[in-house]
């Protein structure tokens, strides 16, 4: 497929990149391109200029300080999945990164690109919302609760670029997705975290137009962080997605399945990779 015509540039500094994006309203930042290039092939976007961020070293890498993990926006999924320090600090996040798409995509795709796109079937939004992460941009710091605003929508303004994502290290956390067996995209997923201050956060992805928190489960798990708290839990289908892969009622059913498996991971760190759809 021939893509729509665009120009390409690879700035050497962050200031240069921001100036280019400011000067060209129809420009798009290019991270790994694993979503953007297919989008361009389908002509669902028509940027005049791609500003490739790959040379900006300050957007790469994982830092772990006192109780906080900071991940650069251009850090590839494969780096996040295989970072020993991250695997020790937030194993559920490393596990999630290792289950995104497939190895070739994980070598190119980035956390900043994924969350800026906010595909409802993406993995990272669940981790950011479930862990209560903070998105650091060139203008401000945005709490995950305010960052993901809707279907393919975020709080980012024109010219605003994600630089890093900061995750508070939780006491324990778990993630489970029921992935479409052909595409690997999330049909329904759930990220559960008990924070360092013993509050509980539950984020659901894939099921609705945008990742969302599940207050009922958060309250139940705050009172009793055990499988017993989920006994009898059933999500309703209101507001959930229906498509050729799954009805809203089926996705509602999967929320309970994903939540129970995510909790099991939080309670007992797992071995292995993504859970297959067969339940």
């Amino acid at each position: 497929m021939t893509m729509v015509d665009f120009d390409y540039t690879r700035p050497r500094t962050l200031d240069e990149a921001l100036a280019l994006l400011a000067a060209h309203p129809e420009a798009r930042p290019l991270a790994g391109g694993q979503t953007l290039l297919p989008t361009l092939k389908q002509r669902l976007a028509r940027p005049t200029l791609l500003v490739d961020l790959q040379a900006l070293g300050e957007l790469r890498g994982i830092r772990i300080d006192d109780g906080t993990v900071s991940i650069g926006a251009m850090t590839r999924h494969a780096e996040t999945a295989s970072h020993p320090g991250l695997a020790a600090a937030i194993p559920a996040l490393a596990f999630l990164a290792g289950g995104i798409a497939h190895p070739q995509v994980r070598h190119m795709g980035t956390m900043g690109g994924s969350i800026s796109n906010n595909d409802p079937a993406a993995d990272y939004p669940a981790a950011l919302l479930g862990l209560g992460a903070t998105v650091v941009t060139n203008h401000r710091q945005i709490a995950a609760d305010a960052f993901f605003t809707g279907l393919f929508s975020t709080a980012l303004e024109p010219g605003e670029l994600v630089l890093r994502i900061r995750f508070p290290v939780p006491r324990r956390a778990g993630y489970c997705k029921l992935a479409n067996p052909a595409s690997g995209y999330v049909t329904t997923g759930c990220f559960i975290a008990e924070t360092a201050t013993a509050t509980v956060r539950v984020a659901v992805n894939g099921a609705g137009p945008c990742v969302f928190r599940l207050a009922a489960l958060e309250q139940a798990l705050a009172a009793d962080f055990s499988a017993a708290a989920l006994a009898g839990f059933r999500a309703g289908p209101q507001g959930l997605n229906s498509d050729l892969h799954a009805t809203a009622a089926y996705r509602a059913q999967l929320i309970g399945v994903a939540a129970r498996r995510a909790l099991a991971m939080a309670l007992r760190p797992p071995v292995g990779t993504a859970t297959p759809l067969a339940a």
Binding site: V4, F6, Y8, L50, D52, P103, H107, T273
Partner: protein
């Protein structure tokens, strides 16, 4: 848009061409370099027939701009062995009858080398997970998995990383 000159070191040889910015890496390899071993199966990031190594890591050349690889090093199926001296993984594919029509094979071999390089070829279950981005419509995968597993057992991971080129396994290792 004006053509942009780019230089990619392909199989150890710098290749410079002026290309449209929208040129895909796979188009650069096939149409500008004449290296048609890298196949286009789906053009939608699903089948893995276009898998090459960019700076030592397996990527899909149909979902990478040539411009993104400007200044980088790419290894294709043409760069790992010759008909006279096959790469150890190619030899393993032959031993195990790991191909039928052969269309997916270049991508399977390049991905297989990457799997071995990362130490993920120790057991068939892991190899199958690692092949999630590569489709084969002929073989049922069993013999592909066997070939990668067998090659990994025969070639130490050291040989895989200390290899000729950045691709992994040295010829005849």
């Amino acid at each position: 848009m004006p053509l942009r000159p780019i230089t990619i070191t392909v199989n150890g040889i710098p290749r410079s061409h002026a290309v449209e910015p929208r040129t895909l890496l796979v188009q650069f390899l096939r149409e500008h370099c004449g290296l048609t071993g890298t196949h286009v199966g789906c053009d939608t990031t699903q089948c893995g027939c276009c898998t090459v190594h960019l700076d030592g890591r397996a990527v899909k050349a149909c979902t990478t701009l040539a411009a993104q690889a400007d200044g980088g090093e790419v290894t294709t199926i043409e760069g790992i062995g010759t008909p006279e001296k096959l790469h150890p993984l190619q030899q393993a594919f032959r031993r195990h009858h790991a191909l039928q029509c052969g269309f997916c094979t270049p991508g399977m071999v390049m991905q297989g080398i990457d799997i071995i390089r990362r130490g993920q070829a120790g057991d068939p279950v892991t190899i199958r997970h690692e092949l999630e981005g590569n489709l084969c419509r002929c073989t049922g995968y069993q013999n592909i998995v066997d070939a990668i597993h067998d090659c990994a057992r025969q070639c130490s991971r050291g040989a895989a990383t200390a290899a000729a080129g950045q691709s992994g396994l040295a010829n005849g290792a």
